[in-house]
């Protein structure tokens, strides 16, 4: 290359990048991904637009002898880009996504592949290909090119719509990842078929390819994992490591090129086997991303734009063909995945949204098409049609998604999902944390029974038992400790632990000397992020009231829900009564009852007491707290009574295992340091009671486990999002 050529190349780069960014602004305004702008810029610079307006300018800007350099630059860019795509592909996305993802991803490949192949076989081969192209290669290639999904564009759209964390987004991204891998494998196979001169050679190529993949997975992957662990340990990604990785990348690309599948696969494979844990993948992606995506990738787009000759579609018939191809592509991809999604139980709207998302082909399609054109499998005319198809399917994704799955729908679905999730079987263990504070042994068994009911069959709660020793008792407890090897420290925790063991509960014990028990309970609850602080109660010597002394202090200081268990031989939690007037404590009590209903299948009765003159809002509030179908499982009794306390007491005598009641004057329950009031409901109710206090300003309700479970399901999805368009 002489200096003139360098100047030429620099001018080309300036024009390409400048124009892409310029059109990119417009695309942004239309709410389209940047990739659209880059492709359009490429086409505009090619014979389709610039060539029409001023052929002289086209020749000056892109003379024929400059094309090889541009092509090489584009290829290097693609190798790096495929490496980045591989880097973003987290193997965790490929597995453990559940039944629906598997079904959807399979059908979203098979259906469009079948449609593409059939159309290729019956129609396009005759009309748009020439006999020198082997029939089988052409048919397979058409199948593959129809079944591509653009993983990066999809990830970008999902992030922009805030769908990444939703179930829909998780399914779509998992399917796209599976599609990606499958399509590349298929394509590698097709390329090997096309390049091979005989069947034996094709078989040999396939064999080598499989061997190479095995080599990468079995040998290179563990090595990289070790390298990743070293680099992640704050050594930083030195230039040596980057150079080493790039060398390996180039070697991998070279190997696959020599094997006879394309260099792109080696790059992709190498990116895919780099461990995603630790910082190596992220750090590498950061270093390479800008140069690749901003500088080199537009060159590739421009290059494919230069090869796109819309002028070739000069008859109405060819435009018709182009339209039919677009229709087929959408039908296969959208139809295939939407129907599959619907079959797995998603609503039509969600299923449609998945279909639209999977229909995004973006730049991946362009990569495939350029490969096909290079190999001579498809003609320039068909290439142009397919480029238009890729553009249209990518372009329509955002608006159609907005139309089919508007933000209101999205919000509604997410709300429903939150409500539905806890009942679902696929729910991850929740982080519902209960701190059991035991001061005397006798409270232990009842607390264990209640914890059992709160955590449910699947032990979905973290339980901590806290016993605080008063300073003067410390020595005694320590002597007992020395003998106690079972793990339950101190005699006070032994009854609790004994019962917990019988019930199959996992409880972590904690005990220490404390001169300010209330403060230490609150601090520990905060440190454990406890959702509920459960205090045991025993009849003290002097005070008559439950809500006095330490209980009062804890209730005043705690930033979360506090409940006191008054245990009168609680051995099961089957029938639960919640007297309800509507205070925040009552609502917290209802929240706990809701958990008992869900986790232990307890039968919940809500006693809504209204004043004789006022109208009741109870049903509405119960409906709000027990969404959808659960509301039906709750019995609501509305009573008009001048004294709520009296009414609750009457009902409590009807044989309940547990009465969950919020503190408050309406129930005769007020927490005071020195209680003189009578707390009749505590004294006279025959069964066990749970007195609940919810602090002001804290999130209203014992939160349902759904939000954490849901986030926990897709923590790695965020990592997939590249700043790419």
């Amino acid at each position: 290359m002489n200096t003139h050529m360098l100047a030429q190349l620099l001018v080309q780069l300036i024009v390409i990048i400048g124009l892409s960014r310029l059109i990119g602004r417009g695309a942004r305004w239309l709410g389209q991904p940047l990739v659209i702008a880059e492709v359009v810029a490429g086409i505009a610079l090619g014979p389709s637009l610039l060539g029409l307006i001023s052929p002289g300018a086209l020749h000056w800007l892109f003379p024929a002898d400059s094309m090889p350099f541009l092509k090489m630059l584009a290829e290097v860019g693609l190798v790096l880009f495929m490496f980045l795509i591989g880097l973003e592909l987290d193997p965790k996305l490929l597995k453990g996504r559940g039944h629906s993802s598997v079904v959807i991803s399979h059908s979203s490949i098979i259906v469009p592949f079948g449609l593409g192949a059939v159309a290729g076989a019956l129609w396009l081969y005759k009309s748009l290909s020439d006999p020198s192209v082997p029939f089988s290669s052409f048919v397979l290639f058409m199948g593959v090119s129809m079944s591509i999904t653009a993983f990066p564009v999809l990830a970008r759209i999902l992030t922009e719509r805030g769908l990444m964390q939703s179930k829909l987004g998780a399914i779509a991204i998992a399917c796209a990842a599976v599609d990606d891998v499958t399509a590349w494998c298929l394509l590698a196979f097709v390329v090997s078929l096309v390049r091979a001169s005989s069947l034996a050679q094709a078989g040999l190529t396939t064999l080598f390819a499989v061997l190479y993949i095995g080599f990468m997975l079995m040998l290179v992957r563990p090595f990289l994992a070790r390298l990743g662990a070293r680099v992640a340990s704050r050594e930083g990604l030195t230039q040596n490591v980057v150079a080493g990785t790039l060398l390996l990348l180039l070697a991998s690309a070279w190997t696959t090129e020599r094997i006879g599948i394309h260099a792109l696969f080696g790059a992709f494979l190498f990116g895919a086997v780099i461990p995603k844990e630790g910082g190596l993948a992220t750090a590498l992606a950061e270093k390479l991303e800008d140069v690749t995506v901003v500088l080199l990738l537009p060159v590739f787009f421009a290059f494919s734009g230069l090869r796109t000759q819309i002028g070739l579609l000069d008859t109405a018939q060819s435009w018709m063909t182009c339209g039919v191809i677009i229709l087929l592509a959408c039908l296969g991809k959208f139809g295939g995945s939407a129907v599959a999604a619907r079959v797995t139980g998603l609503r039509w709207r969600e299923a449609g949204a998945i279909g639209v998302l999977m229909n995004t082909r973006g730049l991946m399609e362009l990569i495939v098409l350029n490969l096909g054109l290079d190999l001579g499998v498809i003609s320039p005319t068909l290439f142009t049609m397919m480029v238009i198809m890729a553009l249209v399917t990518t372009f329509m994704t955002s608006p159609v998604l907005k139309w089919m799955y508007p933000p209101e729908e999205q919000a509604r679905d997410q709300m429903e999902q939150l409500a539905r999730e806890p009942a679902g079987a696929a729910q991850t263990p929740s982080a519902y944390t209960v701190l059991l504070c035991v001061s005397h042994g006798q409270a232990g068994p009842g607390m264990a029974v209640l914890s059992r009911a709160l955590s449910g069959e699947r032990n979905e709660a973290s339980l901590y038992a806290l016993h605080l020793l008063s300073p003067d008792r410390a020595l005694k407890a320590r002597a007992e400790d020395a003998l106690d090897v079972t793990g339950a420290s101190g005699s006070a925790l032994t009854p609790l632990m004994g019962r917990a063991e019988k019930l199959g509960l996992l409880v972590r014990t904690l005990s220490f000397v404390s001169s300010e028990p209330a403060r230490d309970i609150c601090r520990t609850a905060e440190a454990k992020r406890a959702d509920l602080v459960l205090l045991g109660w025993h009849k003290p010597l002097f005070s008559q009231t439950v809500l006095g002394g330490t209980v009062h202090e804890v209730m005043q200081e705690s930033t979360g829900t506090v409940a006191v268990l008054v245990d009168r031989g609680l051995s099961q939690v089957r029938r639960v009564l919640v007297p309800f007037v509507g205070s925040r404590h009552d609502r917290a009590a209802l929240g706990i009852a809701r958990r008992l209903l869900k986790q232990a299948g307890a039968e919940v009765t809500v006693l809504h007491v209204t004043s004789p003159e006022g109208a009741g809002t109870g049903r509405a509030q119960v409906d709000e707290l027990f969404p959808a179908d659960e509301g039906a499982a709750v019995k609501l009794k509305v009573v008009r009574h001048a004294s709520p306390e009296e009414a609750a007491l009457e009902e409590a005598r009807a044989g309940y295992d547990l009465v969950v009641v919020g503190v408050g004057s309406e129930w005769g329950l007020e927490d005071r340091l020195f209680g003189v009031q009578r707390e009749r409901i505590v004294r006279d109710a025959p069964g066990s009671l749970l007195l609940v206090r919810h602090p002001e300003g804290a999130p209203a309700l014992a939160r349902s486990p759904a939000p954490q479970g849901q986030q926990g399901a897709t923590p790695d999805a965020a990592q997939v999002v590249g700043a790419r368009s």
Binding site: E235, D481, S489, R508, S511, F512, V513, E526, K528
Partner: protein, 272 residues
Amino acid sequence: MHLGATLRLLRVDAGLSLRDLARRIGVSSAYLSRVEHGVDAPPTQERLTAIARELDVPPALLMDVANRVSPYVAGYLEDVPAAGTLLLDIARRKLTGAQLARVRAFLDAEFPLREARGDEPVPALGALLCAERVVVQLSCEDYADALDVASGRLASALPGLDVAGLAEGLRQREDETPSQVGNGVAVPHAFVPGAAPVAALVTLARPLKTDAPDGQPLRLVVALVDGHLGRARLMRLAHVARLAGRGLAHRLQGAEDSRQVLETLAELEALR
């Protein structure tokens, strides 16, 4: 006390990589790594001095951590052999820390130093503690629980700080480098921008089986929170490691209330 674990703790806190430190003191990183894991013999005095210089802590402090006689003392003993006899006298009397402090006070009065002491005094641990931040006889099943309890006490000295967040900070640091310095002591530490240095001390009623560098079960947790990175913080960490080497965990094991803990600590720290 485990010198290697302490060195690693200090190195990481100083923000030096293994390779950086190894290069600066002119040894291979493999050797330094072996020292940190206690596989290789402890470094010589010269190397310890070089490490102290790179970490920017007083060399004497590191010598103490390593239970080494400072080269300055060794030189003096060679020059004035009579001084050795005096040391022998002290040893025969089995003087405690407090008594040694009195001996030093006498020396200071009788033979005042003409120039200021070369080493600035190491900040005492006792000054960072108070009765409220001492938890005695904790029994728990997991080290994380001990961190939670310690952060509960620490948070009340750090207004506007959330307990769980602080516990998270301590755990995060712990994940970067294990904070156990051997002899049954762990020194979890966190960085809270702008905070004044505070400490919390937790004695364990039941020793915890953790993977300590010297295989001793954990009996004492000294949690440190600092608002500034750098020399003072490193010196505090090294100081706790030195106390661990002087049997802090063993001495505090019998303590039944926080006052007793603070008294024992004061005695151990009398001569820094």
